[in-house]
């Protein structure tokens, strides 16, 4: 039956968490009530990327974008838009109070500057139907590779495309595949690293949720190129929806004969097994991941013998990130030339020469439009934050951008015109990493943020080697002292010493990159550290132990009428004053926990 309209309801984890499934059910019920169920189809799609304003629905073919929907809005919306054909302005995206709402999805600047390769099918297909993926040109890349290209041609194509690892290392994928191909032996493995342990990063999750077949086709092509017959997807158990969709996709692929024996009639056979990660951040590292697949505890080993020579079960193994695999079908289908047009640098003779293609970033933090953006390499940070991200929330001033998750670094406001690509970011001490991009504004304290990231890596360290286990703990203790006012200037120097030592001598990349947040924050925000150390003050007032909490007598008495809320909330009974009169804080007893500041609804508590 031909539908005249399609309601694309986003079913990414973000929107599902905001009840988008409930909205879908109300929609179906409403359409049946209005008798439109034969004309209007409801399709659940993967994540659209604009998670900040979920639950999202896009009405096709007119391309109208609705956001922040509630199931109570549905009857009105069906009536207005689907029956009377009038798009409802109330639910559209409003860039800011002054500007009018923007109906068309393509006009919203969050989407305008994005170039979709890995996420090209997001919001357009139902990820649980293989036919829709095929309709979008799916598996034609595999067909082309299997029937028209030899394995070496496939590898060469990827090499020429200048594709580099999207997991964070940025190692040219073509070279990795080529070295693996050279190693003798017929048993070899291909692994997709969907562990994604960084806090605040959800690119891989969205790719698998919106378009699982892209990853499967990518692995099939890679396996054909490298001559592997067995693939593994190591996916985090904390991604239930992605896991479920991947399992369905694999089942459908098997049913269609795209996985298993003699695919497309050729003698190429390939199978994929899912391994569920138990949520250890260290298992994102390749050798630890392989140890985990082998049933051993996730502990990295020295990579002096590369995993492409001796990896899983001591056989040659090629491990790539989800996004890397997702790019491969497009490269094969549209050719390396097309891929090199996007991105920076020149890769014709040196694959390290530039960063080609696009990168998916999870834009979070103090930015207006938080969500998932896929931008061409070479775009500047400023464009991402201001054009796509819609600038800083509540008009605050930006302080720093933290890229690459806990292994990345802080980039100060002065360097926002830095084009985003592997080499530029590493030059300033940060790293592309998996793609986490957290925006910090003036209210964020750099010491506190560095402490947060270091606490994460220190807790997630596998504890095998001395520098990472002991070094990061000592660094964390020093940062802890600084944030409670016990830091000294030698501490800063010691902190730098320890950081360099940990970077240089750690056994694996986790230890090698854990100090990056500290190093970059020391490099660009030395002054903030000094205020913490010298004046024992935290400019952003995040390190509570350094604040002094006093009550503004006047506001408390008149506006708050001495409501006693703060007195009740104070754990140390440091607040005195009868009801109806102004209260005051006994500085001796106050342990600066900030409970009163949070409790007072009239902002009577002042913090210096």
């Amino acid at each position: 039956m031909a539908y005249r309209t399609y309601l694309m309801v986003c079913a990414g984890t973000g929107c599902v968490a905001n009840q988008s499934i409930k909205i879908k059910d109300t929609l179906i019920k409403e359409l049946e009530k209005k008798g439109l169920q034969d004309e209007v189809a409801v399709v659940t799609t993967g994540c659209n990327g604009f998670c900040g304003v979920g639950p999202i629905m896009v009405v096709q073919p007119d391309g109208i974008f609705y956001q922040l929907l509630k199931s109570s809005d549905i009857p009105y919306l069906v009536e207005e838009h689907l029956i009377k054909g009038r798009p409802v302005k109330k639910f559209m995206y409003i860039p800011s109070e002054k500007e009018p709402p923007i109906p068309k999805m393509s006009d919203i600047d969050f989407f305008k500057k994005q170039v979709l390769i890995a996420l090209r099918n997001r919001g357009l297909i139902d990820p649980e139907k293989i036919e829709e993926y095929i309709a979008r040109g799916g598996y034609s890349g595999l067909a082309k590779a299997l029937t028209e290209m030899t394995p070496d041609q496939v590898i060469n194509e990827v090499k020429k495309s200048g594709l580099r690892g999207r997991g964070g290392g940025g190692f040219p994928t073509g070279i990795k595949w080529e070295t693996m191909k050279k190693v003798p032996g017929d048993v070899r493995f291909v692994i997709c690293n969907a562990d994604e342990g960084d806090p605040g990063a959800f690119m891989d999750r969205s790719i698998i949720e919106s378009d699982p077949h892209a990853v499967i086709e990518g692995m099939l092509i890679g396996a054909y190129g490298m001559g592997s017959t067995q693939g593994y997807v190591y996916i985090r158990n904390e991604y239930p929806i992605a896991l479920e969709r991947l399992l369905k996709a694999i089942a459908q692929a098997k049913e269609y004969g795209l996985l298993g024996e003699n695919i497309f009639g050729t003698d190429f056979k390939f199978d994929i097994r899912i391994i569920r990660g138990a949520g250890a951040f260290v298992c994102g590292e390749s050798t630890a991941l392989m140890a985990s697949i082998q049933g051993m505890p996730g502990e990295p080993r020295a990579k002096y013998v590369h995993t492409v020579e001796k990896g899983l079960f001591d056989f040659p193994t090629c491990l790539n990130n989800v996004e890397t695999w997702a790019n491969v079908p497009q490269i094969i289908q549209k050719g390396a030339e097309w891929f090199t047009q996007i991105g920076t640098g020149d890769v014709t003779n040196d694959p390290w020469g530039g960063s080609k293609g696009t990168k998916v970033f999870s834009l979070t933090g103090k930015v207006v439009n938080t969500g998932l953006v896929e931008v061409p390499m070479g775009i500047t940070l400023r464009e991402i934050i201001y054009d796509i991200g819609g600038g800083i929330k509540d008009g605050k001033k930006i302080k720093a951008v933290q890229t690459g998750g806990p292994s990345g670094g802080f980039i100060p406001e002065s360097m926002l015109d830095l084009p985003v690509d592997f080499d530029e970011l590493t030059k300033v001490g940060s790293m592309m990493g998996s793609g986490g991009m957290i925006i910090a504004d003036e209210d964020n304290c750099i010491v506190d943020m560095a402490k947060y990231f270091l606490n994460f890596t220190q807790e997630e360290s596998c504890g095998k080697c001395i520098p990472c286990r002991e070094g990061t703990k000592r660094m964390y203790d020093i940062l802890e002292n600084i944030s409670v006012g016990k830091g000294t200037e030698e501490d800063l120097e010691l902190l730098e010493d320890l950081s360099y030592m940990v970077v240089e001598s750690s056994l694996c990349a986790l230890g090698g990159s854990a100090p990056n947040p500290v190093l970059t924050s020391l490099k660009y925000f030395k002054d903030e550290y000094l205020t913490h150390v010298r004046e024992k003050k935290c400019p952003a007032k995040a390190c509570r132990q350094l604040n002094v909490y006093t009550i503004d007598e006047e506001i408390c008495a008149t506006v708050g009428h001495g409501c006693d809320l703060c007195k009740k909330s104070c754990p140390d009974f440091a607040i005195f004053g009868e009801t109806k009169k102004a209260h005051h804080i006994d500085q001796m007893k106050c342990h600066k926990c900030g409970a009163c500041y949070d409790a007072c609804n009239f902002k009577a508590i002042k913090v210096e």
């Binding site: 250890a280 260290v282 505890p297 080993r301 020295a302 002096y304 013998v305 220190q458 807790e459 997630e460 360290s461 596998c462 504890g463 095998k464 080697c465 001395i466 520098p467 286990r469 002991e470 070094g471 703990k473 000592r474 203790d477 020093i478 030698e490 010691l494 010493d497 320890l498 030592m501 240089e504 001598s505 750690s506 056994l507």
Partner: protein
């Protein structure tokens, strides 16, 4: 396909060295006499690379990199700088980290001095001041998993919480107590505890576990190493196997197993020997309870030059005893224990006395009931001892207790009644040697049942005739000799053994054995095939002939007991020598007088 060993030249600290490819930098440097610090490296194990102390700077083209020497395989044209400033700086901070967490571990302190690290700039919150703290080097976990293949020890917890644990922190059954982890632990954090408590000298001078492959004693015949099955790792879990690597002639075969071999023999000579009576059954003597109370076997251990003390007579605390008491008839000639005299104790007790006098300046007291020096030259030896000043006290020892005068070292007090002077005496000694009774071997009853020979009341095997034939038993072809027949010393045992051997050889030289004629046989006509007798015979001599449908007796197996003769309802079986007619005739003769 095995890659041929290619030699590569490597430049370490300016020295050009030729080594096989894939050897690690650490080994190559060692070959060139260059020292690289390492804490978690052990030759027995795959390099684990966790302490990072062996970090060195590797220069390839213009890029230099810090790598760990213990597991970095060398390649052609590699230049290594083991002492650049950067390397020294990294090692210094690494050492500070370790030193602040484990300040009193000797291995760490020593390495810290060597790397000139005196005082760490910070204090580790996880400080562990004990000398044998675990420094998480992982050697024990790795050796247990890779070499011993028992995988008992493992790491638990990640990051700073990481520690080595036994499964569920309990004594694990899969641990084969091979001691490999204790051996390989650099700080002595793991100790081996002997669970069962041996008594006497074996316990006091316990020298710790022997290696699984050892020569039992230097006087062993044949003097070849043997493998102790329960403590050999290869036999337990299939790991290790180092001894076969080092045995050039390749004489070690792990597959050899104890086999049960059936040998056809004509005669059996039972020389199962004796056991020493366990003196613990006499609590008053305090054996196993008090220190320095040994039985004669323990003392023999001490006297033996290859024994635990190398021949010197010493108390448990190592000092030389000032006085030694030797007690005869412990358990022998005693109504409550063994009524018989064990015959040999008096003489070896005198030997002990002589050796104590000879090797130490100790006073010797012999507590005896009757001095039985009956053998050739024995009495003269006894006289010699009296001249050497051994104090002979005739009386059975009542009790041994532990005393200490005004607080100095406690010593033993032997209480007995000296029947020659009619007084009750208490003699302070430092050491007591008990001469326990000789009792039959533990499994004597089992041997008796198997060979169907009989035992005398004192449980030694019963000889056919005490005077005329002490070496054969009631059963033809089975002979006994030595202490299996009763307590006796070496000369008597040798005499008996030779006699038994001679008797057996005479039978062998005869070539045939005269079988006594008393046999049973079946009269075919009478036998109705009722098969009552078939399973009656303990020697399964009676079989059933299917074709003739009658029972038949195998002459060689039949011992002539006649039970089947009496049982046969048709009296179809006659017993030669004891036929019914003969017995009835005897009856006739006896009763008609």
């Amino acid at each position: 396909m095995e890659r041929s060993i290619r030699m590569v030249t490597v430049n370490i600290d300016g020295k050009k060295i030729e080594v096989a490819e894939d050897t690690t930098i650490l080994k190559a440097a060692e070959a060139a006499g260059i020292w690289i610090p390492s804490m978690c490296y052990s030759d027995l194990l795959e390099p684990y690379g966790v302490c990072r102390l062996c970090s060195v700077e590797v220069i390839r083209g213009k890029r230099s990199r810090i790598v760990t020497a213990c597991n970095y395989p060398v390649r052609e044209g590699l230049t290594v700088n083991t002492n650049s400033d950067k390397v020294k700086w990294i090692r210094k901070i690494l050492m500070e980290l370790m030193y602040s967490r484990w300040p009193n571990v000797p291995v760490v302190k020593e390495m810290a001095e060597r790397l000139e690290v005196t005082k760490p700039r910070f204090v580790s919150l996880e400080r562990d001041e004990s000398e044998n703290a675990c420094i998480l080097c992982g050697n024990c976990v790795n050796i247990c998993r890779d070499v011993v293949k028992a995988s008992v020890l493992s790491f638990e917890g990640i990051g700073i919480e990481r520690k080595v644990v036994l499964p569920f922190n309990e004594q694990s059954e899969t641990c084969i107590s091979c001691g490999a982890c204790a051996y390989v632990c650099p700080t002595g954090h793991i100790k081996i505890k002997s669970l069962e408590t041996e008594r006497g000298a074996l316990q006091d001078f316990y020298l710790g576990p022997k290696s699984a492959i050892n020569i039992p004693t230097l006087q062993a015949v044949p003097r070849v190493p043997v493998i102790d099955k329960n403590s050999c790792i290869k036999m337990q879990t299939g790991g290790c196997g180092i001894c076969s690597e080092f045995c050039e002639p390749g004489a070690i075969n792990y597959e050899m197993k104890d086999e049960e071999v059936d040998i056809e023999v004509g005669q059996i000579l039972v020389t199962t020997g004796f056991n020493l009576f366990d003196p613990q059954q006499i609590p008053q003597y305090g054996y196993g309870r008090l220190d320095n109370v040994y039985n004669s076997l323990d003392f023999e251990f001490m006297l033996n030059s290859t024994g635990p003390t190398g021949g010197t007579i010493q108390c448990k605390d190592g000092s030389e005893p000032r006085a030694v008491g030797i007690i005869h008839c412990v358990g022998s000639r005693d109504e409550n224990y063994k009524k018989y005299c064990s015959r040999v104790c008096c003489m070896y007790a005198l030997k002990f006395a002589h050796l104590v006098k000879d090797r130490t300046k100790a006073e010797v007291y012999q507590f005896y009931i009757d001095m039985r020096a009956f053998g050739k030259g024995y009495e003269e030896f006894y006289k010699r001892l009296l001249d050497e000043g051994v104090n002979m006290i005739r009386g059975k020892v009542a009790e041994i207790t532990e005393e200490s005068y005004n607080g100095n070292k406690p010593h033993l007090l032997v209480k007995c009644e000296d029947t020659l002077i009619g007084k009750f005496r208490e003699i302070p000694v430092d050491m007591v040697i008990l001469c326990p009774a000789i009792e039959p071997a533990q499994d004597a009853a089992k041997i008796k049942k198997i060979l169907s020979i009989s035992q005398s009341p004192d449980k030694f095997f019963l000889e056919r005739h005490p005077k005329l034939d002490p070496i054969s038993t009631m059963t033809d072809g089975i002979f006994i000799a030595g202490c299996a027949q009763g307590p006796k010393d070496i000369p008597d045992s040798v005499a008996q053994a030779s006699a038994a051997a001679a008797r057996i050889l005479s039978l062998i030289s005869l070539g045939e054995v005269s079988v006594d004629p008393i046999k049973a046989n079946v009269i075919e006509e009478f036998c109705s095939g009722c098969r009552i007798c078939n399973n009656l015979c303990p020697y399964t001599a009676i079989s059933f002939l299917e074709d003739k449908k009658i029972s038949d007796i195998n002459e060689m197996l039949c011992k002539g007991c006649g039970t089947c003769v009496a049982a046969c309802p048709a009296s179809a079986i006659t017993g030669k020598g004891f036929t019914d007619e003969q017995i009835l005739a005897e009856l006739e003769g006896l009763l008609t007088v």
